[in-house]
Symmetry: C2
Subunit: 204 residues, 2 copies
């Protein structure tokens, strides 16, 4: 199995669905998976450490990474760049270790184009109504903004088409269990294993 | 989700790999899955109950079931018939419950022809050498018979091609975990869920 490549697992989903929470919970229980660290040009917030929460880069450094094709995907939000450094992802997979990327849907789409053999998991709230109440629950947005977000969420639902799996985030622990089950099942896929077993049959 | 069909899960693999042991262990921990009960014309052994271990049938009854197309698959081994009654499988799936069939590879092949949308899991020992030692471990077969079984096992390896997943039976508990993970992951498949979510988006 050691010569088998690791899996690239992309966890994505609409804004407010709890990607970060689920990914952190997964990190707490599953040490078999590596976690990709994004690069960004935004300022570190209190308690954030370079190389742990993000790789903090200057605008110039980030633009150089773009130019040198060193990002698996990147995007610009409100004057700041965010992206996934390619090297760590490639190294991890080549070592036969699984790596998970927690990114927004546009980023996931770009990864899919570049690495279609990845495992694409779409994190979903139990309903759009539930999504709405979660966004309202933050208490910082007005009605207009909420409605705008709902429209975006509907568009993002269309994006489910590009994913392999849909995981409901009804409870964080359940979502984590489902993601772990998907990773286990993917490792049991016949296409991944048949060569190994055929070798055993020859050797015997 | 209630209008979703249940999954037909077929657990198969070479003779001596431990299908029955794994299936019994799964039965002990997973009450979400229904277990198919085979029909047979062989005599009940001590402790075996009709409708629990098998549906015990006369030769005439069994042949009538064959004629009336009431078996999902059937085969004859040493003068005795074995088969999977179709009705219980269909009823269970229609109710939205998953059902597991523990059958040998020839039977699995027939189910695949008739119900290709089933989930086909091939149970494998860590190596053919391990398979050999397990068969030897039974202590009742001579060398010739063992060699014959090994040839059969190699042929059965070729059959892996027809399966969706391969589960190593290195430890019974691990095999059970993997099967449960596969069932969970299959329920998360995008193709199974997208219609449900699209409906939610319309309703909102």
């Amino acid at each position: 199995m050691k010569d088998e490549k690791g899996l690239l697992i992309v966890l994505s989903g609409p804004a407010g669905v709890g990607k970060g929470t689920v990914c952190n919970a997964l990190r707490g229980v599953d040490t078999e998976i590596e976690y990709s660290v994004s690069a960004t040009t935004r300022q570190p917030r209190e308690g954030e450490a370079n190389g742990v929460n993000y790789f903090f880069k200057t605008k110039q450094e980030f633009e150089q990474m773009i130019e040198e094709n060193k990002l698996l995907e990147w995007a610009k939000y409100v004057d700041n760049y965010y992206g996934t450094p390619l090297d760590y992802v490639v190294e991890t997979i080549e070592k036969g270790r699984d790596i998970i990327l927690e990114i927004e849907v546009q980023g996931a789409k770009k990864v899919k184009e570049r690495y279609p053999e990845g495992i694409f998991i779409f994190l979903m709230p139990p309903s759009l109504a539930e999504l709405r109440s979660r966004i309202v629950g933050r208490g910082t947005e007005n009605e207009d903004l909420i409605n705008k977000r709902m429209t975006v969420a509907r568009e993002e639902l269309e994006m489910m088409e590009n994913y392999d799996y849909v995981v409901e985030n009804d409870e964080v622990d359940k979502a984590v269990d489902r993601i772990q089950a998907i990773v286990t099942a993917e490792h049991c896929k016949k296409d991944r294993l048949i060569e190994k077993y055929k070798q055993l049959a020859e050797v015997e």
